[in-house]
């Protein structure tokens, strides 16, 4: 038995490949080469390889738990003094994150089988999910910055393809474009940082980089810019201000992909940031930037979420908000707390996303003001929502409650202002979730909710499984090694969290909920509502700033090309043609003129020759 365990550890590099193998396995169905039995076999094959990845990860985890961390290095490129490795580290933390990724991916895929039952391109969807999962598994296991970047970029690509899954719809097209370009901006900045680090430090493995950064000799400019570049990539991935817009738009994609995107994909971005934390925190500027974008994302995201009427969008903004909190924790060098929050958030957010997806599936509506009364007939969905909401907020003693308590303890001591950000975010999220719950599940059933049945078992099963998981999250957190133990929290911290959550719960429960209120006729209130509903008009700001700038530059380049460069070329051509045409007229055809010209030329030449004094 131990041999098997060791073998699984030695071959841990296979784990990301399972997902990519899923892509290849789905290809015959996705490309339409096999049509006989519909696209289902591709889905089953993908489920199988995901399960394989999960089991492989679990077996390795057993060995690692006993024998400690195991590192794997495979040379990828070694030429001209440049060495790039595939480096994996199997640590309890990495493998735990892997279990989270593959586990949620498996549940999401089962859910997708139910959700996308009649989807024509099911095989393509599963191929993309396999790609997604492979890239994420690689990111969490990676122990080299280069490899992390490599896989993060693949994640960007797969996000683009997944968001653009229903590519015939105009909103999907812009959403996919924005998702790709926003992430790409972050990625190019990240690449600048990575290339610089690679040139300066040589090695790209994190352990070597930690040694390098401890006694680096960078100038003040470089030691500020490099950390900022390293922040930019994860900020794009985690949908942080000012690169948050894509996550909201990405909700146009299929819901099962949204489950993963809002939970584990953003977690991957944060994990990369965690791994480069020692490099980022050499710069005080970078630390402040992390705190500022974290705070803006947390508060702004929570506020904007409050004004959304789309069931998925109201959820996606809270992702931005919670990842903002993670950024704050990372800036304060609190990796274990950040991890706890990531875990609790990922699980409960996935559950909330599943529940929202179920609501959409059974009512065909995403507008919460059109729904109501669903609690009567949908026990699994309703329970999932309640448990997910409880797990994500500091109200009941589930995952995030303890995370918030522990964070508040530390923050009250070190940075009281940031503690306020945490409490406010908690309060606003509770308010938002209670508001949504009342709209969707309570009250009189509206037109679209009247005949809604509970979801089919393929969707219910993963949802119930995840509900149980979220319920036991505190025990999971208790067992995790690097954590101080959630019981270490002080009563004062818990009281603050409870107070903020409870107050917001009251506000959310007592707030009047008329449809007319969703866009008030009172001008001041409406202005505020619109401001939040349209995300502080960020997309408009983009359009008049960066988009306009690039468009203007492109137009200028084109003008320069057409008028100046090509104009000069064509002008030169015209000039020579015109000269030729003009000279043509000088040809008279009279032979006397030709002879005269020749004679004059010969005389002139002879004269010149003598005048200069050379010998003929």
């Amino acid at each position: 038995m131990p041999d098997v365990l060791l073998l699984s550890v030695r071959f841990a590099w296979l784990i990301p490949l399972y997902g990519f193998a899923g892509v290849l396995l789905s290809l015959p169905w996705a490309a339409g080469w096999i049509r006989r039995h519909g696209p289902r076999p591709a889905a089953y094959l993908n489920l199988l390889v995901t399960l394989l990845a999960f089991v492989h990860g679990s077996i390795s985890l057993v060995w690692i738990w006993e024998h400690g961390t195991y590192a794997l290095d495979l040379v990828w490129l070694d030429a001209a003094g440049l060495r790039l490795d595939w480096s994996f580290v199997l640590s309890p933390f990495n493998l735990g994150a892997l279990e989270l990724v593959t586990g949620l991916s498996f549940l999401g895929q089962v859910y997708a089988l139910g959700y996308m039952d009649k989807e024509w391109s099911l095989a393509r969807f599963f191929a993309l999910i396999g790609f997604f999962e492979g890239a994420m598994s690689g990111v969490v296991l990676s122990s080299s910055l280069f490899m992390s970047y490599f896989l993060l970029e693949m994640l960007t690509l797969s996000t683009y393809l997944l968001v653009g899954f229903w590519y015939a719809q105009p909103l999907v097209v812009t959403a996919a474009r924005d998702a790709f370009l926003t992430k790409r901006v972050g990625d190019v900045l990240l690449l600048m940082g990575i290339v610089s680090i690679s040139a300066w430090a040589g090695s790209m493995t994190f352990t070597d980089l930690y040694v390098w950064v401890a006694n680096h000799d960078l100038g003040p400019l470089a030691s500020t810019l490099v950390p900022l570049a390293l922040i930019a990539g994860p900020a794009g991935k985690c949908a942080q201000f000012p690169m948050h817009l894509w996550l909201d738009e990405a909700m146009e994609g299929p819901n099962p992909a949204s489950i993963l995107r809002n939970s584990v994909v953003v977690t991957c971005g944060a994990i990369v940031l965690l791994k480069v934390m020692p490099i980022v925190t050499i710069s005080p500027v970078a630390i402040s930037v992390l705190q500022v974008i974290g705070s803006i994302s947390a508060l702004g995201g929570s506020l904007v979420a409050l004004a959304q009427v789309d069931i998925k969008r109201a959820l996606s903004y809270t992702t931005t908000a919670y990842l903002g909190l993670v950024f704050i924790l990372i800036s304060l060098r609190l990796p274990s707390l950040a991890l706890l929050l990531l875990l609790a958030h990922a699980l409960s957010k996935a559950l909330l996303a599943m529940s929202s997806g179920s609501v959409i599936a059974i009512t065909n509506s995403q507008d919460i003001t059109e729904l109501g009364g669903l609690a009567r007939c949908t026990p699994a969905t309703t329970t999932a929502y309640i448990v997910g909401a409880a797990g994500m907020t500091g109200l009941l003693p589930l995952g995030c409650f303890w995370c918030f308590g522990l964070s508040i303890d530390v923050l009250l001591r070190d940075a009281p202002l940031l503690a306020a950000v945490f409490l406010l975010t908690n309060a606003l999220t509770v308010w938002n979730l209670v508001r949504k719950f009342r709209h969707v599940f309570l009250g009189e059933p509206r037109a679209k909710a009247r005949r809604a049945p509970e979801v089919n078992w393929l969707m219910a099963l993963p949802m119930v499984a995840l509900t149980v998981l979220v319920l036991v999250t505190p025990f999971l957190m208790q067992r995790l090694d690097p954590v101080p133990g959630i019981t270490a929290v002080s009563t004062a911290g818990l009281a603050l969290v409870l107070a903020s959550g409870g107050l917001a719960f009251l506000v959310g429960s007592l707030q009047p909920l008329q449809e007319a209120m969703s866009r008030s006729i009172h001008r001041p209130l409406r202005v505020v509502q619109d401001l939040l509903a349209f995300d502080f008009y960020t997309d408009h700001l983009y359009r008049i700033s960066i988009v306009a700038l690039v468009a203007w530059l492109a137009r200028s380049a084109d003008w320069l090309d057409r008028r100046i460069v090509n104009g000069a070329v064509n002008g030169f051509g015209r000039l020579s043609m015109a000269t030729a045409e003009g000279l043509k007229l000088s040809v008279s055809g009279a032979s006397q003129t030709y002879v005269l010209t020749l004679v004059v030329a010969v005389v002139l030449l002879a004269f010149l020759n003598f005048a200069v004094g050379g010998t003929p």
Binding site: D78, A80, Y149, P170, V185, A554, D558
Partner: protein, 512 residues
């Protein structure tokens, strides 16, 4: 090794072309195509056979062949192979075969067409293998005329303008290169046209700079670099698909090859002196190409301008001239050859299916039943490869170039990386407009319903060349070690040229 492997390589296609021209009677178009396919396949196989005796970690020329030809002129028939040349010979082999495979047999005068194709392929190989600058020049010019004919005879509506423009630009490029080569020989006093870096060292720096400037501009036209690029978009738009593939994939590489082999290889001192300006020029070229590409509305023009941008990276890497950056330059040549070749193939499919390449008109071609789903998927792949997504050839190349050039030219490198980000912008515009959305191939008007467009399905066999190219893009991107092992010896040798010569001592000083 007594077998003249390199001469045989050249002979295959030249003899093939000759045989096709002298073919008794009038061969039917299919025969011409099949014959040239066989010839080019043989050429590709033979190119691969070169891998067997070749050792990529050696620095100098291998498999050398020599025969005196016009000794009094200094024109010797000397061929040699190093990693740089071999990689480019391989990509030439692949893309020539692809170009022949996607050529239509319905074209007028198929015999001439395929014969010219074979001549180009052989001439390009000759230029890569030539170890004598005059011989290089002969092959460089030899490739020009067939290509001019291919554009002028089989081109699009505006072909006369484009072909003439191409001819004039490239002829000027040839003249400048010849002037530099002759000037080098005359100024240094010995009529030796072998590629010897010592030769230029005997001259004053001013002469070196002047000669190198002529070379750089000559090759800069071919690459092309801003502002000498204006022939390229026109040539591409008017050329037929296979010619575009060859032009972008192989012929532009003659320019970048010249940059490495002759500008850097013959004038290392002058090159080092000018390198900061060259790096700046590279950044301008990258940014200009990328920005101009955003504004294009013709798919082919967009890809053409992207070539201007992506070839700028090669100049940047060559200016930095570190071992990593030069290896990256080679990777970029290969990657760009494969990726832009793939893109032109796919644009060709779109054009033949819809009759237009207009970005303002085409919509939603990804439609699974009535559109071109496989072409669309391959295009997404090509676009991502070009934008530098890891796992495909473009990323390795860009990473090595940026990594190798950053410490030497930080600002130019960072600006070029911005260009890499802009690549995503314009190619995403292309994919989003042409392949995503609701299917339409004519301008959408309220009175013309567009939902009943039905594009002819492309048979899988016609997509085979594109799929093969995509596969190679993945192979290079996932297993770069293979290509690196081929080329690392020669690129490292090029990057350490100044040090090598410093060790060898300066002949001019030794004499004095």
């Amino acid at each position: 090794m007594s077998l003249p492997m390199l001469s045989i390589l050249l002979l295959i296609s030249f003899a093939g072309a000759l045989a096709l021209i002298l073919w008794p009677g009038v061969p039917c178009p299919e025969t011409s195509k099949r014959f040239s396919l066989v010839t080019l396949a043989a050429q590709l196989l033979w190119s691969c056979a070169l891998l067997i005796p070749f050792d990529g970690h050696l620095a100098g020329m291998q498999l050398q062949e020599q025969a005196s030809w016009l000794g009094s002129l200094g024109l010797d028939y000397r061929l040699g192979l190093d990693g740089l040349a071999l990689s480019l010979v391989l990509i030439n082999g692949i893309l020539s075969l692809v170009a022949a495979a996607v050529s239509s047999t319905g074209t007028p005068r198929p015999r001439l067409y395929f014969a010219l194709l074979l001549i180009i392929s052989a001439a390009v190989n000759g230029a890569f293998l030539a170890e004598n600058t005059l011989l290089f020049f002969l092959f460089y010019e030899l490739e020009l005329i067939p290509l001019w004919l291919l554009i002028a005879i089989w081109g699009g509506r505006n072909r006369a303008y484009a072909a003439t423009k191409f001819l004039i630009f490239t002829a000027v490029s040839g003249v400048l290169i010849l002037v530099a080569f002759l000037g080098l020989a005359l100024a240094s006093g010995d009529l030796d046209f072998s590629i010897l870096p010592d030769q230029a060292r005997q001259l004053g720096l001013g002469t070196q700079l002047a000669l190198m400037a002529a070379l750089v501009v000559g090759f800069g036209i071919k690459i092309p670099l801003f502002p000498f690029h204006s022939w390229l978009p026109d040539a591409h738009t008017e050329a037929s698909t296979p010619i575009s593939v060859l032009l972008a994939g192989v012929l532009l590489k003659l320019g970048t090859y010249g940059l490495l082999r002759f500008c850097l290889g013959l004038f290392p001192d002058a090159w080092a002196l000018m390198s900061p300006y060259l790096a700046g020029w590279a950044a301008v070229s990258v940014l200009f190409g990328s920005l101009a590409a955003i504004a294009q509305t013709d798919m082919k023009r967009m890809v053409a301008y992207s070539s201007v941008g992506h070839m700028g990276y090669v100049l940047l890497a060559t200016a930095a001239a570190t071992p990593v950056s030069l290896l990256g330059a080679l990777f970029q040549m290969i990657a760009h050859g494969l990726i832009s070749g793939l893109m032109f193939l796919l644009v060709g499919v779109v054009y033949s299916a819809t009759g237009t390449r207009d970005l303002t008109v085409l919509r939603g071609l990804m439609n699974p039943q009535r559109g071109l789903p496989l072409t669309g998927s391959l295009m997404v792949l090509a676009v991502m490869a070009s934008a530098g997504i890891p796992g495909m050839a473009g990323f390795v190349a860009e990473f090595m170039i940026f990594r190798g050039s950053l410490l030497t030219f930080p600002l130019a490198t960072l600006l070029s990386m911005v260009g890499s980000g802009l690549t995503a912008v314009y190619f995403l515009l292309l994919v989003n407009r042409v392949f995503f959305g609701r299917l339409a191939v004519t301008p959408v008007r309220p009175d013309s319903p567009t939902h009943n467009v039905l594009l002819p399905a492309v048979p899988l066999i016609h997509q085979l060349p594109a799929m093969a190219l995509a596969l190679v893009v993945f192979v290079v991107g996932l297993w770069p070690q293979g290509l690196a092992d081929l080329a690392v010896g020669s690129t490292t040798a090029l990057s350490t040229l100044p040090q090598q010569m410093a060790l060898a001592g300066r002949p001019g000083e030794a004499a004095g």
